[in-house]
Symmetry: C2
Subunit: 206 residues, 2 copies
Amino acid sequence: MVDELKNTEKQILEAAYHEFLEKGFEGTRMQSIANRAGINKALLHYYYRSKENLFNAVVNEVTKALPLAIHNILNSGDDFFKKIEIIVESYIDFISKNPQLPRFIINEITRNPELIASAIANHSGIKEMRIIEQLANIINQEVNKGTIKPIKPHQFIINLLSLCVFPFVAKPLIQFILLDDEASFNELILERKKQVSKFIIDAIKK
Amino acid sequence: MVDELKNTEKQILEAAYHEFLEKGFEGTRMQSIANRAGINKALLHYYYRSKENLFNAVVNEVTKALPLAIHNILNSGDDFFKKIEIIVESYIDFISKNPQLPRFIINEITRNPELIASAIANHSGIKEMRIIEQLANIINQEVNKGTIKPIKPHQFIINLLSLCVFPFVAKPLIQFILLDDEASFNELILERKKQVSKFIIDAIKK
DNA sequence: GTCTATACACTGATAGAC
DNA sequence: GTCTATCAGTGTATAGAC
């Protein structure tokens, strides 16, 4: 991330990234970003004029990663069920590497819908914008072919998203009511990479 | 809610409830709680000594509602598949009435795990604490009976939770990428009350 | 570019009149 | 109980030396 920036600026953005993703905009202190970056508070303002600005830079970085993540989905296997397997696995893999990302996006899009929405739109090419449409079309085709049971594309997509994303968003809650430690959570997620696609396919296969 | 309290105190708690659920602890200003309650800032401190205190009172109210919500699950229909239908429908119904609640709990449990965890534990009797166990037992029984495909109870529970809860947590995101307006979101949720249980049953039925 | 010192605004909390 | 006025602390942002 942010390879093209000078050292200090890069460190700041890196530190800000972690702080904001952990604590959100309101919960983050400029001081703790400076501490994490190992520099002075004033330098933050030297590079990024304001907290708002620095936050926007982080949002920009974050949303840059999204199109790459869903790019895999576009050119996945030809069989519909194989396609689902690949989508689920690569999706869970991606979030595993950025586990705080969903909660961050959800919270900040709630706080300031325009900002995140425009950032996402900004980094998504035509291709990525249409991915939902494409997926919806594929689902309708399969329904018409009779390979899967009738289901509204929107509902299908939400089901898939829910099963992949929610466990990460609700991680502390899940750990509290279902698990004991960190290790068992990782194990659970690992299992889900196979389990979720099987669950979905079993649900829709005729 | 909070029927037993005097008028002003009740108004404050009510206002605090809405503000905190909307904006979280960090994002909420005592001033805006006072404004919403139609009283003065100083009165907040008269009734609840501090912001922390007032927040705890809200958490207390919030978690009080949870055992009631899952109580229905305990005494639902006798057939396993019917049971799932009832759980899903009553769960989605409950969250529909408190749509901000999941995001609130998830965020605040992330910020301060002990507080929320103890509040939940505080209001849950033995019965409610064991509901997960019970549900897990039922699932194992059905697997052994051969009525459903093999699935780990934890995974099943997470799947069910994800499908019910996530759409509310991700509402603004869903509206951005899938929908246009408020009306279509409500319609979508209404559909899900039937769709989700059908999806789950199709996924596990042998 | 990087630091220290400081200005300025905001927010939670208290004092005191009524 | 409820209000106005105000304090103390904290957080963002800036000035200015190096």
